[in-house]
């Protein structure tokens, strides 16, 4: 019996043995699925912001799971520690929507798109290929990834469901 592991905002986790990872209601945030098809280890990260340098506040302890340029490497490392092999890892990404009409706040204008760009840049730096992508547009997504098949399932409200 596989169990479902919930990944919250600014969180990341891995699943093995047929367990399923889920993160609910990705809006402008981006969900990054990593998968090693041989070891059958899945990883999921739910990032909120592009970079730690640009968006962290020195008054508070940094949450490394919150930023694209810190979270993905930590997730990858966690998978490797559990037996995944780096060159086998593939990525699938989803989210980064623009939930509201453009607003006049330069700091977070187009934050969804900037999150997606930052995620792609970080995956390129880590040399992890992206094999599927469901990003942008204007609706929220709930994302599942199974550790047995590595399939990314996306559910939305009234917009449909997809499997990648």
């Amino acid at each position: 019996m596989s169990k479902t592991i919930v990944v919250g905002i600014s969180d990341y986790n891995i699943a093995i043995g047929g367990d399923i990872l889920v993160t609910y209601a990705l809006g402008s945030c981006v969900g990054i699925c990593l998968y090693d098809p041989v070891a059958k280890i899945a990883g999921l990260s739910h990032i909120m912001l592009p970079t730690i340098t640009e968006f962290s506040d020195s008054r508070f302890a940094a949450q490394y799971g919150k930023y694209a340029d810190t979270a993905i490497e930590l997730l990858m490392q966690k998978m490797i520690n559990s037996g995944a092999v780096k060159i086998r890892i593939r990525a699938k990404i989803a989210g980064g929507a623009q939930m509201f009409a453009p607003i006049n706040n330069a700091n977070i204008a187009g934050i969804g798109e900037r999150n997606v760009i930052a995620v792609k840049k970080e995956l390129a730096r880590l040399k992890i290929p992206i094999v599927a992508e469901d990003t942008g547009k204007n609706y929220g997504r709930t994302l599942y990834i199974g550790s047995d098949d590595g399939l990314m399932r996306i559910k939305s409200v009234n917009k449909g469901e997809w499997v990648y």
């Binding site: 609910y24 990705l26 977070i108």
Partner: protein, 97 residues
């Protein structure tokens, strides 16, 4: 049609609360153009959550209820002020820390 109705109701309600707050505090408050969307609460709230990710964890929640004959609908208004704005509001209400 239905969406623009909801947007207008939201606009009027937000406007009323902002006006009330304005007269209570004596502050001039400008309202920008409203936008709306219907989706998962988490996905919608991720937008202000991203904006306030590092700077605040305070919001003002107002629960309200609409009624018409036997039909009723309750809803929530979440006012999420900027940190500086919240301080101004609290100061002018004599509640500054």
């Amino acid at each position: 049609m239905d969406k623009s109705t909801i947007q207008e109701v939201g606009n009027i309600m937000a406007g009323s609360y902002v006006n009330a707050m304005s007269s209570l505090t004596g502050l001039t408050i400008d309202v920008s153009i409203p936008t709306m969307n219907v989706d998962m609460a988490g996905a919608l709230l991720s937008v202000p959550a991203i904006y306030y990710a590092n700077i605040s964890d305070k919001i003002i929640v107002i629960e309200d209820e609409f009624g018409h004959d036997q039909v009723g609908a309750s809803s929530h208004i979440l006012l999420i002020p900027e940190v500086d704005g919240l301080k101004k509001i609290m100061d002018s209400l004599g509640l500054g820390s």
